[in-house]
């Protein structure tokens, strides 16, 4: 990718993030109910409410509130939760770690299973292993996430006692335990992802195998392994890369079911709580952070496209 198109992408990213900031801020004002009553309770007097609004800046005009908040954000200060008194940036930093670890872990597991399986199944198209893998992916796609989670907890935590059923240990305390606590939730997410990745990559590999250069590679006496992994895999990866990126962005803030079932203090749970308590400062910060992750991942996907496909890199 050229420097120019990189700059253009960075400019787009900034525009996206500012738009998200404005939109979430506006959303906070549209949602019914007031923070003051949520915090102080229904019995609060009008004086108490006015005092609360003055302290939190809620009596200022919306534009002024936005300016104050956004200036803070630019300096790394996401404000303070009126509900808990906790600094939002601290909370986000705490919450982002388990979320990111969980998603990276799940993506790695999913790809480790889906990529070899998809290549093999496509190569043996229509044969028993292909049929078995296709059927397996359908079953996984049709099974709700919570059912997978409950099943895994039952087998590995309850019956075998091999892994903790719920909870999370931060890596700075005990990295091995972090791994153990994240394993079951990551597998839960990975199974669903792997089913989709398998199907997308298998279709891509099947298409690539039709290409002339694959026939040429076979005419060179290359082994099936060389044909598949040197010649076929890379040109088949583009749709998968897009999908992995999208899922990554989505799961950082959207793995709520898994976070809840396994009691992992991640971003999804944090955002959900903020919606329920109308804690706008928290909500705005969380949404902005998730949007930033999306934007960064997308940028990475674009860069990876150029690495995977020189036609994109060398196109004018």
């Amino acid at each position: 990718m050229t420097t120019r198109s990189l700059l253009a992408r960075a400019g787009q990213a900034v525009i996206v993030l500012v738009s998200v900031a404005v939109a979430t801020f506006a959303l906070g004002r549209i949602l019914p109910g007031e923070l003051a009553t949520a915090v102080l309770g229904d019995t609060a007097t009008p004086e108490q409410i006015a005092e609360f609004n003055r302290k939190t800046g809620a009596d200022q005009p919306a534009v002024e509130q936005f300016r104050t908040w956004f200036t803070g954000v630019l300096h790394g200060d996401f404000g303070t939760s009126a509900l808990t008194g906790q600094k939002v940036s601290d909370a986000l930093a705490d919450r982002a770690v388990p979320s990111l670890l969980l998603v990276v872990f799940a993506e790695v597991l999913a790809l480790a299973v889906a990529v070899p399986l998809a290549v093999w199944a496509a190569y043996r198209r229509g044969k028993a292993p292909d049929k078995a893998a296709n059927a397996g992916s359908f079953v996984l796609l049709a099974t709700p996430q919570f059912a997978i989670a409950v099943l895994l907890i039952y087998i590995f935590a309850v019956q075998l006692g091999a892994l903790p059923a719920t909870g999370y240990t931060p890596p700075e305390q005990d990295p091995a335990q972090t791994f153990r606590t994240l394993l079951l939730p990551a597998v839960t997410l990975a199974l669903g992802l792997a089913a989709v990745y398998y199907r997308v990559l298998r279709a891509g590999v099947l298409e690539t195998l039709q290409q002339d250069y694959i026939l040429a590679a076979r005419a060179q006496g290359l082994t099936p392994r060389q044909v598949l992994f040197r010649h076929t895999l890379r040109p088949s990866l583009l749709p998968l890369v897009t999908l992995v990126g999208l899922n990554f962005g989505f799961l950082v803030g959207g793995a709520v079911i898994v976070e809840q079932l396994f009691a992992i203090p991640g971003l999804g749970t944090y955002a959900l709580g903020a919606v329920q308590t109308k804690d706008f400062t928290v909500l705005q910060g969380t949404v902005l952070l998730i949007a930033a992750v999306y934007v960064l991942v997308n940028l990475a996907v674009d860069l990876l496209y150029g690495v995977l496909d020189p036609r994109i890199r060398h196109a004018r």
Partner: protein
């Protein structure tokens, strides 16, 4: 008198119909029948080839006449499920290709038989730098390590006439012109110094000046390396200039074959004649498809009992519709044809019209 003057003076036979001793590739009655949605297709039917080192055999014929299937079948590149039946024999340097398993065939492909494809735009992998595509077969067959393979790749690029090969080696196909890509394909095919090079319409996708360069390159490499070459082409101009022998295919069968100059100077099979007439001039516009023959190529799933060309043939006789003519020496020529009613040799009006192919001895006597 023989107007052709291209036969071997000592044997009086075209080089291609030697009895197969000393030939690198020897096919006898080679047939490939394929499954298709409409039934079984006789894509290749009873083909004989004798090809010696250092010589070029051109294979010509309309689209769908089985040229590519012939080559792919020899290398075991057809999808196994598509092959309904293989017949006849195929020997490469004494190896019976019919009984050679896939693993052993893989050692022959790329190592002893190289292949160049028609379209260098699609036959090179767009996501690998060209040196890696040259290096992969070198690493597999010659067990070169990565560094040696890269060095060899650069040398090969140099030997196929690519300027600044060290820089070009790191480029991707998208950064190269069509002619340069075809040179890369040739470099890949030649990497392991094969005994036989199969070029399936290597210049059809290229423009005229580049075609000439590529064909010249193939000629030079064949001579340098004493390779045998099978040159598939639609273009009789290419065939005339760049082959020793020619096999004309029609509907999977050999229609006529012999020394190239003899066949092109005095075609006896009406189909070959039509091909020549369809080509504007032998040395004129190149790369044109042989389109101008009236009628449609036959349905290969339902070939007639008689000659496959009968329905389109200007010299058709009753016998042509009921009995397929065998490939046999044509009276008055030095080459073989499959025709009951061959085109008369130019300038010799005394040929029996509609006469059956005369047995070989008769022909020898008549020419002595």
């Amino acid at each position: 008198m023989n107007p052709l003057g291209t036969t071997n003076p000592t044997t009086g036979k075209p080089a291609s119909s030697a009895d197969g001793h000393g030939s690198l590739l020897r096919l006898r009655g080679y047939s490939v029948h394929l499954h298709s949605p409409r039934g079984i297709v006789a894509a290749v039917d009873g083909v004989d080839v004798d090809l010696a080192r250092g010589r070029t055999l051109a294979v010509v014929g309309e689209s769908g006449s089985g040229k590519s299937v012939l080559c792919r079948s020899l290398l075991g590149l057809l999808p196994a499920a598509a092959v309904a039946h293989r017949g006849g024999t195929a020997h490469f340097d004494g190896i019976d290709l019919a009984v050679t398993g896939e693993a052993a065939l893989r050692d022959i492909r790329g190592r002893r038989i190289g292949m160049v494809f028609q379209d260098p735009m699609t036959a090179l992998n767009p996501v690998l730098p060209v040196w890696r595509q040259i290096a992969l077969p070198l690493r597999r067959h010659l067990r070169l390590d990565r560094r040696a393979a890269k060095r060899a790749a650069v040398e090969l690029l140099d030997s196929v006439g690519i300027p600044d090969p060290a820089r070009r080696a790191d480029q991707y196909p998208v950064q190269m012109s069509g002619g340069m890509r075809q040179r890369v394909m040739i470099a890949i095919a030649l990497g392991c110094d094969p005994d036989l090079l199969i070029a399936d319409e290597p210049t059809t996708a290229l423009d005229v000046t580049v075609q000439a360069q590529i064909l010249g390159l193939l000629d030079r490499l064949r001579a340098e390396r004493d390779m045998a070459v099978i040159l598939i082409s639609h273009d009789l101009g290419v065939v005339a200039d760049h082959s020793d022998d020619v096999m004309v295919m029609y509907a999977g069968r050999q229609a006529e074959r012999g020394a190239t100059r003899g066949v092109l100077a005095g075609p006896r099979m009406p189909y070959t004649r039509a091909l020549l007439d369809a080509a504007p001039t032998l040395h004129g516009e190149r790369g044109r498809r042989l389109a101008a023959i009236g009628g449609q190529p036959p349905d290969l799933t339902r070939l007639p009992d008689g000659c496959a060309f009968a329905a389109r043939c200007p010299r058709v006789q009753d016998r042509c519709r009921t009995q397929a003519p065998p490939l046999a020496p044509v009276p008055g020529s030095a080459h073989d044809g499959a025709c009951w009613n061959p085109v008369p040799v130019p300038g010799s009006a005394d040929l029996p019209e509609g006469g059956a192919p005369i047995p070989q001895e008769t022909q020898e006597t008549s020419r002595a």
